[in-house]
Symmetry: C2
């Protein structure tokens, strides 16, 4: 594969906040956000809280998390941890175990209290780092 050296560097992700949830372990987490996940608070770091300006209660947003408990050396999984389903490449699944364990969570903003957002439903466990927030763009190809 041709790649110039610029593409090979590693980039540091600095969490912008953290999930505060009643989900304490990966085993507690439902398999998809729509299957009974709870609400949670997102605590956003004061240093970047200005970036929240324009988000309102009622909005749908995409929360990008870093699954800090995930295994990064996994390339194939049984989807939904169901051994009856054949091994599948992680990029064809939403497994948290993957080379860069990013999680995408489309949620509703339920409440804003200073630098904290109450959102839901979200299947991330307590302490999961939040690395980005993005609006859902109605009709856009990339939401």
């Amino acid at each position: 594969m041709k790649r110039d050296t610029r593409d090979m560097v590693t980039y540091p992700v600095n969490p912008i906040g953290v999930v505060r949830s009643t989900l304490r372990t990966r085993r507690d987490a439902p398999r998809q956000g729509c299957e009974g996940a709870p609400e949670a608070w997102l605590e956003v770091a004061p240093a970047v809280a200005k970036g929240l300006e324009g988000i309102a209660a009622g909005d749908e947003i995409i929360v990008i998390t870093w699954f800090h408990r995930a295994r990064r050396d996994v390339l194939e999984v049984h989807p939904r941890w169901d051994k009856r389903i054949p091994l599948t490449g992680v990029f064809a699944t939403r497994s948290p175990d993957r080379p860069n364990p990013l999680g995408l969570h489309r949620v509703r903003v339920l409440e804003i209290a200073g630098d904290r957002l109450r959102v839901g439903p979200i299947e991330a466990i307590d302490g999961t780092p939040v690395v980005d927030l993005k609006p859902v763009l109605p009709g856009a190809a990339d939401s």
Copy 2:
């Protein structure tokens, strides 16, 4: 803000591939993927190519990129680079300039050739690192 030390660490993102596109500069890129963005090839690193197993031509996937040319110290922008629109927090926009410059691109897989995927439309410039691929889950809350 109460955060334990675990949340404060920095995580290294290792690109899994790179975008090969006719878009050469940020100025070339359309403002949203749906506004005339071209197709592109995603070159996936051989070391993680096994993770592609299960992706097929015709699938819709979400490509997560790292906007390596972005400014990470920006917290407010004029959406769509339109100075007539008031300054807005970056987390309420899709600006590439943001603390962790992750890009979300919902695209169609048009062709698979070994470790390369032809996808579109996608508004990332040539050389943009790819950090994750995920399936679009019909009806799921997090797609």
